[in-house]
């Protein structure tokens, strides 16, 4: 079933955004440059702010019809350029069209006179834009800070850094890895056939030989080779034993990343 978002405007003009088949009109212009620009928008609010600025419009008095039109044009262009248009961009399109139609409704003169503070249909959007823009500026500040920090280097490793083989991973990392491995072997366990099991001593010997030969061993790959749950547990204990007793370090480059056993 194609994922389609259909929006009706007051002129019965239909914008249909089909994630798979959308073929919108071609917009003229230097597409390469636009492609880069489009890719840079961090979200619909970002795009909207860009359009408001491009139109030199006042954020507190957004010309909603013109901005909506521009916004929809951009979405069409994104599709034309094969840039995946996230659902969030379409939700914003719908919001804009809704505001636009509300603005076109004639005001009830009786209500308007009574209630001075009748809400501008644009108000909520303006509030969101202002709030968002603060964080966008804060992101810029963070970017500057990280650029400065990247120019400062800490000292190189020294001897005392390595006097304990510890793992820099949270409880969650460890649990995730073990659960992943066990889950992967659940099916195999069901068909487990009686076979000669490798002893813990042999497992440790094999693993040591491998670390010695290659310098490092990817733990996930190593566990992958095990034929049964029991062998897997033996392998896991072997790893724990080696880390405790030997000059071997456990490394993990990123959270949920592969864990590497490396010779120190």
């Amino acid at each position: 079933m194609p994922l389609t978002e259909t929006i009706l405007t007051e002129k019965d003009e239909q914008f249909s955004f089909d994630f798979h088949k959308e073929t919108a009109e071609i917009m003229s212009g230097g597409t390469d440059e636009l492609k880069i620009k489009l890719g840079e928008f961090a979200g619909p609010l970002d795009l909207l702010l860009y359009l408001i600025r491009q139109e030199q419009a006042d954020i507190f008095d957004i010309p909603i019809a013109r901005i909506t039109e521009k916004y929809l044009e951009y979405i069409r262009l994104m599709k034309r350029l094969d840039i995946a248009v996230a659902a969030d961009f379409l939700v914003m399109a719908a919001t804009l069209i809704e505001i636009k139609s509300k603005m076109l409704l004639p005001r009830d003169p009786a209500l308007a006179a009574d209630d001075e503070e009748m809400e501008d249909p644009r108000q909520e959007l303006v509030d969101r834009l202002l709030e968002y823009e603060k964080f966008k500026s804060a992101a810029g500040m963070l970017h500057e800070r990280s650029t400065i920090e990247a120019a400062i280097f800490p000292r190189g490793p020294i001897e005392s850094d390595e006097n304990n083989a510890e793992i820099d991973a949270s409880v969650f990392d460890l649990l995730t890895v073990f659960q992943k491995i066990v889950a992967r072997h659940v099916d195999e366990v069901k068909m487990e056939i009686q076979r000669e099991e490798i002893s813990l001593a042999d497992m440790i010997k094999n693993l040591k030989a491998r670390i010695f030969e290659f310098g490092e061993v990817n733990l996930l790959e190593f566990f992958e080779e095990m034929h049964s749950r029991r062998e897997l547990v033996t392998a896991f204990i072997a790893v724990l034993e080696i880390v405790r007793a030997e000059t071997v370090k456990l490394l993990q480059n990123k959270t949920f990343g592969d864990i590497i056993l490396r010779k120190v």
Partner: protein, 188 residues
Amino acid sequence: MDLEVLEVSEKPSRTPTELVAIVEALIFVADEPISTRVLAEVLEEERDSIQAAIEQLQSEYEGRDSGLQIREIAGGWQLGTRTEYHEEVRKFLKTRPNAKLSLASLETLAVIAYKQPVTVPEILEIRGVQSASAIKTLLDRRLIVAKGRKEAVGRPMQYGTSKDFLVQFGLKDLSELPSIEDFEDLVN
């Protein structure tokens, strides 16, 4: 002779110069920023003396135009190279600057830094766009951590910034971040 008195007087007596030197040595060997509190405890000195030693050390490094500097970061003191020499250092280490964070990741990080603890739906509300992959990136780079659950429907996980965030962005602590309201002036 009283033994107890002897024990009390065993508190290390160091000249100010020695204390400066020892503080320098400890800041150097520590593999993470080391706090004034830890220095005071290990050396059995008053925090004020430690603070004075660090200030002395900083001005020494400044005064002799050292290639290194002592900075306060993530609640502790750390030695690092001066920014002026980053080209030479990078050339020597043959490193490239870290992959920069995307605009989406930086925005998500800004929201988390200022609104922490904050949930995924709350981030969506402010950014107007799904931020799952940005959050994954930030977790991978250890810039954010899980901070318990929110007492709301579904008890969603909340996120906050990590110590690595302070280190990578050169902040003493979170209060060093400019107030989010300060950015309002830029907006208008």
